[in-house]
């Protein structure tokens, strides 16, 4: 359960962001996914009250918004860490041992795939093919790609970002 004690000001800001985005993209039903993408880009994730506000602004039932949010892998309903580590589990990476890489991350971070560390620094997830198969196995941390990995590289990558916090 996420924290419910947000101040009215924060909520107001979230709703202002939604207002602005809906106005910019257009409130036609077919723009729902684009609106949600942009809202998530600004807020980091899509809490229930934001989903319900989007539903109101776009005249779509909340059930449909929730249906879309939970259907697509891109959307998060929980806050994500400052750094998102996406380990590629596409076939080319898998045959070159990316399964071992994600296991090592799970071990060192103490979280399962899809979870966020307690300090909110890292979210670990598996993704399917970044299209950088020439570098397999690869992973992506907030857009930066690391390639030709071995389980020994895992500690260094975590340390590099931990130091930056």
């Amino acid at each position: 359960m996420e924290c419910q004690c947000q101040t009215a000001v924060e909520k107001g800001e979230q709703f202002l962001a939604v207002d602005r985005i809906v106005k910019q993209v257009g409130n036609d039903k077919s723009n729902l996914i684009q609106v949600l993408e942009k809202v998530q880009h600004e807020l980091g994730y899509l809490p229930e009250e934001v989903q319900s506000y989007v539903a109101k602004k776009m005249s779509v039932p909340l059930s449909e918004v929730f249906g879309v949010v939970t259907f697509y892998a891109l959307f998060n309903v929980e806050p994500v860490g400052k750094y998102k580590i996406s380990v590629c589990l596409g076939t080319a990476c898998y045959v070159k041992g990316s399964g071992k890489i994600i296991e090592e991350f799970q071990r060192q971070l103490g979280v399962k795939s899809g979870e966020t560390t307690e300090d909110g620094v890292f979210t670990l997830e598996a993704c399917r093919c970044l299209g950088a198969c020439g570098l397999a196995p690869v992973l992506n941390v907030n857009g930066k790609v690391f390639g030709k990995l071995t389980p020994e590289d895992v500690g260094g990558i975590i340390a590099q970002y931990k130091d930056a916090v």
Partner: protein
């Protein structure tokens, strides 16, 4: 116009960008400017050359010198040696197996067997500059089509024999004809760029390297079927492709090549981008249409086909990126030219993403009918580290694994089907002796389970049951009847799933059961994994001959399973061992082995 004595083409595709080609390009640019050479030598960015594991790639013209794995620290040497003294930097040239450095791209084995039609502009033009596309006869095909009748355009596509490059291989011209014949005031043209097949990146490279070819083809399709609105549905995971498409669309609009009254022929056509949000099933055409409409991307039964009732129930033509990219070339060079390449029923070329356990990884384009042996051994340069070839997986989660006995089959749509796989979008993943085929089958089933939209029970529940059986087998709990059960489930899912993704989901299991049954049997009857992949079936043992008794393994064992006296051979208690492999990784004497 400025004249330069040299042009440096640097790859700005995803592979090379991931290897910091941007920094190399910027560094070269700055250094040339510092030395006052920037008026003589021009640094350009291009699309993908295809030779991804040799990146970052740089080609210097007019000589055509092909440099690979160029790093920032190499810049000074390239400038001093190549641009000032006029001799290539030997160290950065490609060295194949013959260990002889090759200067030109054409002489490299990886490129020699290729026939670049769809990829002809990739690695040649700057994808962010429409004028370079026009200089390569870009938008001439559209101009030509606007002087033809709609029927003539469709006829040309039909005669070329082009088939859908997205997987199914449906004749493209016939599809256009259906959409043309559907009566409606509003029709749509859609480009499927939701390349979700793991290990495939053909469409991404075309969009990154030659985005205008797709825009031009969509406009041609729009004219042919009578549509004036197009959508490109592209994965959000491809940020560079999305950016370049955006630039391309706005440049085409500026020059009036998209928009109202194109070429003053009274034809209107415009294109919008729609980003996918990470759902594999949206690659299925009816799922994709739902997603463009802003809904959950759940497929629906066909008929009606999209050509009759697609986007907002209007007639809609959907083709994939590579299919479109062929169109301008077919229009300009003629249907006969295209039909002259390939096999009897599969014309033209096909782009494949070659990856996995093969020396040369990258993007290749070959005439249909090329054998897998040529692809894996000549273009791909064989298997690394002298390992034995085991299989090639084609068609992604809908395809199958092709064993060594079929390496000489000329590949096209039909031959791949007949050996239990399929063309799919064009991912080719090479596997060697270290890959366990039961584990690979399980990997694909996990993928399908993750990505099943859940609408129809055969896919939602059936693949779950198959995954449970495969997990059981890899964990050493397999029973003899499991193989029969897998077979029964597979045939039920094939016959009853709602969409093509569900119907083809059992293929990786069926093909591995057909060609690698011995591996399944070894897991079930002998409780052994012949490739030593499935952890539960392995035991770690210490070779007393090699063990020096240093105790490093025992200190690092998380379950205290290793004991012994210093300077005497240690041993592993199998009942405590959790098979993490830490001891084997730590041992400095190679004394620990998996059995």
């Amino acid at each position: 116009m400025d004249f330069y004595r040299s042009h440096v083409l640097t790859c700005a595709g995803t592979g090379c960008t991931s290897m910091d080609s941007r920094l190399v390009r910027q560094g070269l640019h700055d250094e040339l400017a510092k030395r006052g050479l920037d008026k003589e030598i021009k640094v350009l960015e291009t699309g993908c050359f295809g030779f991804c594991n040799m990146g970052p790639i740089m080609v210097v013209y007019p000589e055509g010198t092909f440099y690979c794995q160029v790093q920032q620290q190499d810049i000074t040497q390239i400038i001093e040696e190549h641009f000032i003294k006029g001799r290539p930097v030997e160290r950065l040239l490609y060295k194949g197996q013959e260990a002889q450095a090759t200067t030109e791209m054409e002489n490299i084995e990886f490129f020699k067997h290729q026939e670049r039609v769809v990829l002809s502009n990739c690695g040649k033009i700057n994808p962010e500059n429409i004028e370079e596309y026009i200089a390569e006869d870009g938008y001439f095909a559209l101009a030509k089509c606007l002087d033809m009748t709609q029927e003539e355009v469709i006829d040309t596509v039909k005669k070329s024999g082009l088939r859908g490059r997205g997987g199914g291989g449906f004749p493209t011209g016939t599809k256009w004809d259906f959409a043309y014949k559907s009566q409606s005031d509003q029709k749509y043209v859609v480009c499927n760029a939701d390349e979700g097949d793991p290990g495939a990146f053909m469409d991404r490279s075309v969009l990154e390297g030659d985005p205008h070819s797709v825009l031009e083809a969509m406009a041609i399709a729009g004219y042919a079927i009578g549509a004036n609105k197009g959508y490109i549905y592209i994965r959000a995971e491809y940020p560079i492709a999305v950016e370049r498409l955006g630039i391309a669309i706005s440049q085409a609009r500026e020059l009036g090549l998209l928009g109202k009254d194109i070429f003053s022929k009274g034809f209107d056509f415009d294109i919008e981008l729609r980003l996918g949000a990470g759902a594999f099933v949206c690659g299925e055409e009816t799922g994709l249409l739902q997603s463009i409409e802003g809904k959950r991307g759940e497929p629906r039964p066909r008929p009606p086909f999209p050509a009759v009732a697609g986007l907002w129930t209007q007639p809609t033509l959907i083709n994939n990126v590579e299919t479109y990219a062929n169109i301008p070339r077919i229009i300009l060079r003629g249907a006969d030219w295209f039909a002259g390449m390939g096999t009897e029923k599969s014309k033209g070329t096909k782009v494949f993403a070659l990856a996995g356990k093969v020396n040369n990884i990258g993007l290749i384009e070959i005439p249909m009918g090329t054998t897998l042996r040529t692809i894996v051994y000549d273009i791909g340069g064989g298997i690394p580290k002298g390992k034995n070839f085991k299989a090639v997986q084609s068609g992604g989660p809908s395809g199958g694994c092709i064993p060594a006995e079929h390496l000489d089959v000329p590949i096209d749509y039909d031959s791949l089907m007949s050996i239990g796989s399929m063309m799919g979008s064009g991912g080719l993943i090479v596997m060697d002796e270290d890959n366990c085929m039961v584990d690979i089958a399980k990997f694909y089933m996990e993928f399908i389970q993750d990505e099943s939209c859940g609408k129809c029970p055969p896919c939602r529940i059936g693949t779950k049951r198959m995954l449970e059986i495969l997990t059981k087998i890899t964990e050493g709990r397999g029973e003899p009847e499991d193989l029969d059960n897998l077979q029964i489930l597979a045939s039920n899912i094939k016959n009853t799933a709602l969409c093509a993704l569900g119907q083809t989901a059992p293929n990786p299991v069926l093909s591995t059961m057909k060609y690698f049954r011995d591996e399944y049997e070894a897991h079930i009857y002998e409780k052994k994994c012949p490739s030593k992949v499935c952890q539960a079936l392995l035991s770690y043992v210490i070779d007393p001959e090699k063990c020096k008794g240093c105790g490093l393994c025992a200190r690092n064992c998380p379950s205290d399973a290793i004991s012994g006296k210093v300077k005497e051979p240690y041993s592993i208690d199998q009942s405590k061992c959790v098979k993490c492999g830490e001891c084997m990784a730590r041992c400095k004497f190679g004394a620990i082995d998996k059995k």
